[in-house]
């Protein structure tokens, strides 16, 4: 049973997310068929180009996710737009971002093995990506520290903004450190129309996937927070009856 189709539970699903999930599923299926079978081999990269159809979209998704985390955190920290929903979106987006950054690193190193003959090079883009991955794992760990919802939101919001400032610092320091970085490999403009179309399908379906995942994850976080708050009523009743006959 495919979990994406399994919408009838209605836990965090609405008609909108169900439709979105269906569209995402179709997009991903299409991407797999085009990417693996229908699109031609590249003249230079041969079959390795097929990895790019999923690698580039997942990298795009991860970066998008971290930008959203930063924006939502800024929104929370700014008094006039303060709401826990923004904090939950920041957390949801960061979790999805970490997942896809991990996927990006795996697919990227497999692509590197084909194209460069090595899984890893200390090129600025790769290194920055690896640092981002670890930084946001730390961010997620801080979200799990406990305390009140507001405390979680405040701490992790500050951390997300610091991470956002940190990214260019890491990027530029690594770039100066190893000036001989790899050439931009995708932008060489030798892709055929069908290849570009496949890449386009990948970008669109991954973007849809991102929205779907974050909506669900954010609602799960809202449910968790509500369980915490609802637990309070029960805990209060327990507390008040302490020492009663």
């Amino acid at each position: 049973m495919n979990p994406l189709i399994n919408m009838d539970t209605r836990a965090t699903s609405t008609r909108f997310t169900s439709a979105l999930g269906l569209a995402t599923l179709i997009g991903l299926g299409w991407l797999a068929v085009f990417g693996l079978f229908l699109s031609p081999n590249d003249r230079v990269q041969k079959t390795g180009v097929r990895i790019l159809y999923i690698h580039v979209p997942s990298a795009w998704l991860a970066y998008l996710a971290f930008v959203v985390t930063g924006l939502a955190s800024a929104g929370y920290l700014w008094k006039r737009t303060r709401s826990l929903t923004l904090d939950r979106i920041a957390g949801a987006s960061a979790e999805v971002g970490v997942l896809f950054m991990g996927i990006t690193l795996v697919s990227g190193s497999l692509w590197g093995k084909i194209s460069w003959g090595t899984y890893w090079t200390w090129d600025s883009r790769l290194t920055t990506t690896a640092f981002l991955f670890v930084t946001y794992i730390g961010y997620l760990a801080v979200r799990d520290l406990g305390g009140s919802h507001e405390q979680r939101a405040r701490r992790s919001g500050v951390l997300a903004l610091l991470a956002l400032v940190e990214v260019p610092l890491v990027h530029f320091s690594v770039r100066w450190w190893r000036p001989l970085h790899q050439q931009e490999s995708v932008a060489k403009g030798k892709l055929s129309d069908l290849m570009l179309f496949t890449l386009f399908v990948g970008l669109v379906s991954f973007t849809l996937l991102y929205v779907w995942l974050v909506m669900h994850r954010q609602r799960v976080a809202a449910l968790d927070d509500m369980v915490d708050d609802g637990g309070l009523d029960r805990a209060l009743a327990d507390r008040r009856s302490e020492g009663m006959p």
């Binding site: 640092f131 405040r154 500050v158 610091l162 450190w177």
Partner: protein, 225 residues
């Protein structure tokens, strides 16, 4: 804010003067690291080449220990609570802790650099002294700010001993890179010259400013419940 900064920095240094934990425990630990690096790398030419990197790597691991110690002091008998009840300005607390941390780290780094010169057979070139001093100040400031910021975040949290390295090490990576390259330039390692080093000092300065300002503004919301 400045009054509390001065008070707290003075207090932390006085604690160190009386307890000598950094001198008696952290400095030997750092020196030991330098010796262990030599065992692991086992080659005089390699050691001379990577000496600047090892100095800053050892400084960074020592920083973790010093930060733990610095905030264990505040947590041990509820002093941090008492500071909050005293209405102490959080930005002032941040700067005070960072200042004391920087002073302790600065002493440690001199010892580490001395160890590298003696053990790894490195040399300071005359034209590199200004660069070395510049690197030393900016990198130390950056490390102290980051250490205080994340130390304050982790204080009182469960599992803080393991959380702190996870949070801190990725963030100080630019300092490791920048300080190492600049120190290489100052020592003339791999034929680098002093002029190669100054852009790195610029990066280190930017780093210190970003985390100094960020920490001063946000420290209150990090340590409050």
């Amino acid at each position: 804010m400045w009054a509390i900064t001065r008070l707290l920095a003075g207090k932390d240094l006085r604690v160190e003067m009386r307890s000598r934990v950094i001198i008696n425990q952290v400095v030997p630990f750092a020196a030991l690291m330098m010796v262990m690096f030599a065992f692991a790398l086992d080659s005089d030419t390699v050691l001379a080449r990577v000496a600047p990197g090892l100095v800053w790597l050892a400084a960074m691991f020592s920083l973790l220990v010093i930060v733990q110690r610095s905030f264990a002091l505040e947590a041990a008998d509820g002093a941090l609570d008492a500071l909050r009840v005293a209405g102490a300005n959080a930005g002032g607390i941040f700067l005070g802790k960072a200042l004391a941390l920087a002073a302790q780290l600065a002493v440690l780094e001199v010892i580490l650099l001395g160890a590298a010169l003696v053990l790894y057979n490195s040399h300071i070139v005359g034209s590199g002294i200004a660069l070395l001093v510049g690197t030393y100040f900016t990198a130390t400031a950056g490390l102290a700010f980051v250490g205080t910021l994340y130390g304050g975040l982790a204080v009182g949290a469960k599992g803080r001993e393991t959380l702190l390295p996870l949070l801190m090490l990725p963030v100080v990576a630019p300092v490791l890179i920048g300080a190492t390259r600049a120190t290489e330039a100052a020592l003339g390692t791999n034929g680098a010259t002093a002029t190669d080093g100054w852009p790195w000092v610029g990066l280190l300065t930017l780093f210190a400013v970003v985390f100094g300002v960020g920490g001063t503004l946000s420290f209150g919301s990090l340590i409050d419940e």
